[in-house]
């Protein structure tokens, strides 16, 4: 296979905030990730694309600590976080969403956001009983911020509904809103637009663009290549557990080898339509 890796000036050694090197992960005999490399630059939106089974979600799981890699290294802001548990990685500012919406079903929409801030005073018994005012003060500040985010995401009117009662689209928005509430430095979005209608796809795209404006770095798995072209600064193409090429969407679509060898012409056809 002769593939020409495409690089873009947007990724330089100085502004890489998240990187993976030689990542490997097998499930039984299946090598889901087989030597993937990736770099994500600070303040950009990077897409991770590739056919089903390319290992994209597994890479996100390895980076976010949901699964430990068999081999390879993940660096977050220069720090080696390979094999760290997910809560420690999240504490460093990397927050993720999931491919299938995983709302906290037995909590209300508002509570889904309120549970997010790390190390809340009201999560410690000693504060609950000895510093109730400080707990209440922090809770109020969190509620005000959560309410603001819910208004932004059009979920304010359902704030007191059980999250399990939301529609599919609302659950997508809730998942994104919850991640935003966590004030991430880096956001990993696993197919944030899967199964939503075109109008909502645009809306979610706009939200993600706004996150970049707010200084949040985004790495997102996405199959909708129109969306990728519209909002992503940089694209990483994966297939068979490896990184095939990186670059701008416009560069990749002009690279017939990448298009035909690894996406079977689908990429070309979609972009032309």
């Amino acid at each position: 296979m002769s593939v020409t890796p495409v690089t873009t000036p947007a990724v330089t050694a100085t502004n890489v905030v998240l990187s993976g090197r030689g990542l490997h992960k097998s499930f039984g005999g299946n090598r889901a990730v087989n030597g993937a490399d990736l770099d994500v630059s600070e303040g950009t939106i990077t897409a991770l694309i590739g056919p089903n089974g390319a290992g994209k979600s597994t890479v996100v799981n390895l980076i976010s600590g949901l699964l430990p890699p068999d081999a390879g290294e993940v660096r977050l802001a220069g720090e080696d976080v390979s094999g760290w548990p997910s809560h420690r990685i999240a504490q460093r500012g990397l927050i993720r969403t999931f491919q299938l919406s995983r709302e906290l079903q037995g909590l209300t929409v508002l509570e889904n956001l309120l549970v997010t801030p790390i190390a809340q005073k009201g999560e410690a018994l000693v504060n609950i009983f000895l510093r109730p005012r400080a707990v209440r003060r922090e809770e109020r500040a969190n509620v005000e911020r959560a309410v603001e985010i819910l208004r932004d995401y059009g979920l304010y009117h359902v704030r007191d509904n059980w999250a399990r009662a939301l529609s599919g689209g609302q659950k997508r928005l809730l998942e994104l809103a919850r991640a935003v509430m966590a004030q991430p430095r880096i956001l990993l979005l696993d197919e944030p637009m899967a199964g939503v209608n075109p109008a909502l796809v645009d809306q979610i795209g706009d939200h993600i663009l706004k996150l970049r404006t707010d200084g949040i770095t985004v790495l997102m798995i996405e199959h909708n290549l129109g969306v990728v072209e519209r909002i992503c600064d940089h694209v990483i193409v994966m297939a068979e557990g490896r990184t095939l090429a990186t670059g701008r969407m416009s560069d990749l679509r002009d690279n017939p080898e990448v298009v035909h060898a690894y996406l079977g012409g689908v990429l070309d056809a979609r972009l032309d339509s």
């Binding site: 949901l66 809560h87 906290l104 037995g106 509570e111 549970v115 790390i118 609950i128 009117h157 209608n197």
Partner: protein, 353 residues
């Protein structure tokens, strides 16, 4: 005093004690999703330790043998029971909580409970084996000059007071951000971990608090009844508390109280005072398990959320109060959306669907 009144106070005692036990398990299972099938073992440890630390060393020639015999004044023995149960929780959490899915965790916990049961039942030097403790003194009875009857009333009332105090503590915990985080872990521990929270630490907290309640509940039972042995904490006893939670309403402390009244009091303790049906001695007691089972099935069919379901919490209520105080902002945001631009609201709703 009429015997019926003593029955009443006995039932009152069991109601309060089972509320304490129920709240503890509710925090672990109803709020945190820990399927603690070993809960009765925590109750037992609380009872044994409260018992031996109040009974004094075993008397020579009494034929009894147990460890830690001491005469701690009330309520130190009771607290020792709670603390011992917490120590067991730490041990169990470190054995069982490492990356185990909740159903496997439940199996490990039930195994731990069975191992403990067999060990305590057969290793006589620990808590006198199957005979158990049978002469635990009535706390404060000599100080207050109480006889067996007046002690029964006194201790039932005291248990209600202790129960009320523990209710206040538990409600504050479940209403707090800690309670919310525990409920989030119940729903999806991976998501909570991905939000930067150490799930194990929170589960350990829930185990500790729940175990303390179990230990105190067990301690109260041994101090009320003066005796405790392995027949009091067989596996079905765990399911009686689980049944109480499910029938009363999981994740709701008031529901737990209703469940504690319906299952352990109405269907477990009360039948002990119902006269036998002529010609069928023991039939009523033998039917107890079947009746509770049928009740559980009916609940699952017709009201799976329990008699009093988990309630919606509204942490933003203070915002509404504030808008009332400031008439300039008196329009709720819902109304703003609807009145300012009905079209926009309709489009928004349509888009989101």
């Amino acid at each position: 005093m009429a015997p019926i009144l003593y029955y009443g106070f006995t039932l009152l005692f069991f109601f309060a004690a089972y509320c304490v036990l129920g709240w503890g398990l509710n925090l672990q299972f109803g709020e945190s999703g820990i399927l603690n099938f070993a809960y009765i073992a925590f109750v037992a440890i609380g009872a044994y330790i409260a018992g031996v630390t109040s009974s004094g060393p075993p008397l020579p020639g009494s034929g009894q043998s147990y460890v830690l015999g001491a005469t701690l004044p009330f309520p130190l023995g009771l607290l020792a029971g709670g603390v011992a149960s917490c120590l067991l929780a730490v041990l169990v959490a470190f054995i069982a909580f490492r990356r185990l899915r909740s159903d496997y965790l439940a199996m490990v916990l039930i195994s731990i409970s069975l191992v403990m049961y067999d060990f305590i039942n057969n290793y006589v030097p620990l808590f006198d084996g199957a005979d158990g403790l049978n002469s635990v003194p009535m706390p404060l009875a000599s100080t207050l000059g109480l006889n067996a009857n007046s002690f029964l009333i006194f201790f039932a009332v005291l248990t209600v007071v202790i129960g009320a105090f523990m209710w206040l503590i538990m409600s504050r915990i479940t209403r707090s951000p800690l309670g919310r985080t525990l409920r989030a872990i119940r729903d999806d521990p991976d998501v909570v971990s991905a939000l930067g929270k150490n799930v194990f630490r929170y589960q350990l907290t829930a185990m500790l608090i729940g175990a303390f309640y179990a230990g105190i509940g067990g301690g109260l039972i041994v101090e009320f009844s003066s005796s405790f042995n392995t027949s009091a904490w067989t596996v079905p006893e765990t399911f009686i508390i689980f049944a109480a939670l499910i029938i009363g309403g999981l994740g709701n402390n008031v529901g737990v109280m209703v469940g504690a009244f319906v299952v352990p009091v109405l269907f477990t303790q009360l039948p002990k005072f119902i006269p036998d049906i002529p010609g069928h001695p023991g039939l009523i007691l033998n039917l107890e398990g079947a009746v509770i089972g049928v009740l559980l099935i009916l609940t699952m069919w017709f009201r799976p959320q329990g008699i009093i379901p988990e309630r919606v919490r509204r942490p933003d209520r203070f915002l509404a109060r504030r808008t009332v105080a400031a008439p300039a902002d008196a329009i709720d945001a819902d109304q703003v959306d609807a009145t300012a631009s009905p079209e926009a609201a309709a489009v928004d709703a349509e888009t989101v669907r």
